[in-house]
Chain length 110, copies 2
């Protein structure tokens, strides 16, 4: 648990990409590495604000972005395009991607 | 993995409530039960469209709703208010709640 943190984002409005997925039983070994690389790469993109991720039966990754243009650019990023293609070919049984405008947020900290 | 599924939602626009949290080390034993009850109760509310949830270090629950009025009504639901209060008192180290309007979505199914 040490070091765990949730994404800290600026005042709304900003955008969320909600990526929900179910994995295939076998991944050919490349999934964990590609997943880590994608997080590092996403964080380096213009307009990236933060990301949270968790997986049990269902995996949920929510990334936060300044605007729709930043999201479109990340979707077209060459390495990301390869990851998306491999995801459909190998890693994912199914997934949904939702683009949403965050209108309000509030936080609690003990 | 059998039986796992991700939320199926209608055509946008609709709303997402993105609840991201980190648990306290100890929960007094009531967390799992209250969490299950809240999902069942939420699903019975007017305007509820679906929910996905996963927890590792960070927990993410995304619930989907028809409109902001449905979200407000659920936030004020009496049992839910008790759960929110107990969450702040006992279960959560920290959390963020984000209200977001889903503008676009797309899905992949093997």
């Amino acid at each position: 648990m040490a070091g765990a943190a949730i994404a800290v984002t600026p005042e709304p409005p900003y955008y969320a990409v909600i990526f929900t997925s179910i994995r295939t039983p076998s991944d050919g070994g490349g999934y964990a590495l590609m997943s880590d690389v994608m997080v590092v790469l996403a964080a380096a993109q213009p307009g990236f604000l933060g990301v949270d991720s968790a997986r049990e039966e269902v995996g949920i990754t929510v990334s936060y972005w300044r605007d729709l243009e930043s999201i479109s650019a990340w979707k077209r990023n060459a390495e990301h395009v390869v990851a998306q293609r491999t995801g459909r070919a190998t890693w994912y049984e199914c997934y949904s991607t939702r683009i949403a405008k965050v209108e309000r947020d509030y936080s609690f900290q003990r």
